[in-house]
Symmetry: C2
Subunit: 468 residues, 2 copies
């Protein structure tokens, strides 16, 4: 949680050999500068920073393969880096090694509008892709908030606000190019929309967090930009009303594009921080509807009826694009809004995902426990998926608060597991949730380890992540 | 293709030891009777029959684990069996061994209507599940035609007519219980709708065709039975018109539940066999629309406009449930209808999947080549996915026709691969398409083999399938 001490740069002889080997090839694209190493040794979390020994910027598959081969030969760790927006200590150089920054592999290699797919290099970011696509009437829906690289998003199985309708990275990747630990370049999948041809290496790599291979290219499914997009906000007397509205909407098969839940405390924070003055400090749903004029009208009619039944307010509309952007910007700023509740504090941002029938119980339980511990915990949830984020704010100089924060974080995960849920819906395991992965999957982790050792016998790929 | 000779039952000493060990435990649920062995040594294809040495019927996870442990100890092959409806030689006991028939594991363990999921044993069939669910307003959409077991469907990554809207098995399985080669019982996944917790063992097992583990339980996603279901048929002047109608519908994001293409020859066969007297011998689309009254009307309006533009006839409606059932029964009978074109013949039923923009080219090319070889080849396609089935009919006693059939089958797959497609969209590799898997995935197959050997070092699980 606290910033760990930055390693002194006692580069071991093997790493020196690797750097020596790579230096003539990469020139200025290989660096051991402290500032760069520090940047690459941390994510957007409070797991601290453990910098790698060097950072290298390959620009094509062959260069990634070259780096892998030499690192494998010298058994030097290799940590893939996209935009550094992960939140579970995925980037800590626990055993030193080389950070392989894929940001220069940022080419959109091809877009096929007829088949609605594209092939990109792993360093392309979500916003870059959507900017490029917008004149073709297509978009890529997976939106984890941060402007992450698609390679990182595939590696952590990212999802976000649109997943309730469009799926997560798992449902939107057709194939990958990966570089193995020993430097082989392997294409998985095809351009077909489905396949039964052999084991899905694509699906095995998604969510493997750089521990099984380095993702260098991705074949993505795209979606048509909807004819009409409308957004609305509805506040509720209580959290159950909000959650039950969503449960019934899902049961009716209403294809809502986004349904985001903010608890009262998060609304308080967002009203202040994002200047949402028209809104109430109450459990609130943010909706976005995609479709034809008629289809959207029908979705809205049904959802309004459901929310009326569950004590929801009248819908407040974000009529035009600007209003809609303000609304979703506020949603994306939820983290910073939350942090502003107690300026100068630290936080544990955790995420769990439970069966949707248990979501209200899970959140209310977390709120109660937080209150009993005297902690402030704004909550936002991708409620249609049963996935929510709790931001546990604490003062690092207050050891009781710090311990309570850890206690609450642990409690939320344990409760999620007891409810048949998962310890992370979209952040991944990294180095932060390894103990929970064991609790969740037990002997399954042994199988994962067997696969890891088979594909990366020298354990060079992002070692110490997912499991030990 | 032809029926291969049935093995003489020269049971090797290791298999005898396994049978001897299992006999007291399983009693009449273990059999070496020839008829049963023959039944279990073949699928619904023309890859012939190679019977296992014995068939055993476990009734719970522990019994499956017991069987795996003893087979692993003696290095005796273990071939999982569901309903025997696979079509790529998945069930051939290439190295002898034990067929593990999961049909007695047919319990629906739990249904949660609120979360729209259920947990079932692997032997539950698709029709059994939907019959059980119908009073709860829910259904399981994946429909490969045959009344297959869900375990078998997961193992081959089955899909079928509804996949264009509801996805394949890959998108509809939340978790599994598997028994490993060494007899460990491992649960994968959770009840959450999504997760980023570690490697997806669930996804790795889906499509692994019994070669990585034995699937014994499945956690499935369910869907609400739509308010309204309507079916229609539309014939086209040419195949391009039909395919272009579908491409544009997909691009517009119209959520059609089923879009099936039948080529002229398949229509000729189905008109005769299934008594569809009202229809024409022309490229034809069968549609099914799911949704609200208003939503379905809107879908139909859009699709009718698209098909008008592409030379489609007026829609012919299957107004009531009975008419609809007649229509989809005819679609499900397509194989038998096709075979009736040349009574007493054999056939190669193959399936490929291409990017949808290449579908018309791919089918027309196959039709032309078939004609040049003097072969009759009815074609049906899950056209929204770019997936089609070509039934290559030949007289086994006519060696030229037989060779030409093989030549055409090979041609169709090679063309699909050249177009960026896959050698199988839903049938799987089995023992029939191993050479094509290599062509499709190259070095990727080496990775698959590494994983296989790590999880099943004695190669007891369905050996000789997927790859050698």
């Amino acid at each position: 949680m606290s910033n760990k001490k930055i390693n002194a740069s006692n580069i071991n002889p093997d790493i020196s050999s690797v750097i020596e080997f790579l230096a003539p090839h990469f020139g200025e694209r290989l660096s051991t500068a402290t500032a760069l190493r520090v940047q690459h040794g941390q994510g957007e979390d409070s797991h601290g920073c453990i910098p790698p020994d060097a950072v290298v910027y390959p620009s094509n598959n062959d260069e990634v393969a070259l780096i892998a081969r030499i690192c494998n030969e010298y058994k030097v760790p290799l940590i893939p880096y996209g935009t550094g927006t992960s939140v579970e200590g995925h980037l800590l150089a626990l055993q030193g090694g080389i950070s392989i920054d894929l940001s220069q592999m940022d080419q959109i290699l091809s877009v096929n509008a007829e088949d609605m797919d594209c092939r990109i290099q792993a360093g392309v970011t979500r916003e870059q892709l959507n900017t490029d696509l917008r004149y073709q009437g297509l978009f890529f829906p997976v939106d984890p908030g941060a402007n992450a690289s698609l390679g990182g998003m595939a590696a952590t199985c990212a999802s976000g606000t649109n997943a309730v309708r469009y799926g997560t990275m798992r449902e939107n990747v057709k194939g990958l190019t990966i570089v193995t630990a020993d430097g082989r370049i392997i294409a998985t999948g095809t351009r077909a929309r489905k396949t039964s041809a052999g084991y899905s290496l694509t699906q095995l790599m998604i969510g493997s967090e750089g521990t099984l291979g380095i993702i260098t290219e991705i074949q993505l499914k795209l979606h048509p930009i909807p004819e009409l997009t409308k957004a609305a906000v509805c506040s509720f007397k209580d959290l159950e009303g909000a959650v039950n509205t969503v449960i019934e909407a899902i049961q009716l098969g209403i294809p809502v594009a986004r349904i985001e839940l903010l608890n009262s405390l998060q609304m308080k924070a967002s009203i202040q921080y994002s200047k949402l003055s028209a809104f109430e400090e109450a459990p609130t749903l943010f909706f976005e509807f995609h479709g034809s004029t008629q289809g959207v009208a029908e979705q809205i009619g049904t959802i309004q009826a459901l929310s009326d039944h569950h004590g929801g307010s009248a819908f407040r509309w974000a009529e035009n694009t600007e209003d809609r952007n303000t609304l979703w910007k506020a949603r994306h700023q939820a983290y910073f809004a939350g942090m502003s509740l107690q300026p100068g504090s630290m936080s544990i941002p955790t995420d769990v995902c439970v069966p949707i029938s248990r979501l209200a119980d899970s959140i209310l339980d977390a709120e109660r426990y937080a209150e009993s511990l005297g902690l402030q915990c704004p909550i936002v949830g991708h409620v249609g998926d049963g996935n929510y984020h709790i931001l546990i704010i604490f003062d690092e100089n207050n050891s009781e608060q710090k311990n309570n924060a850890k206690r609450l974080s642990n409690y939320v995960v344990e409760q999620a597991l007891a409810m048949g849920g998962t310890c992370t819906g979209e952040h991944g395991i990294g180095s932060g949730k390894k103990e929970y992965l064991l609790k969740e999957h037990g002997e399954g982790v042994e199988l994962m380890r067997t696969i890891k050792l088979a594909l990366d016998p020298n354990r060079i790929l992002n070692p110490g992540k997912v499991f030990d």
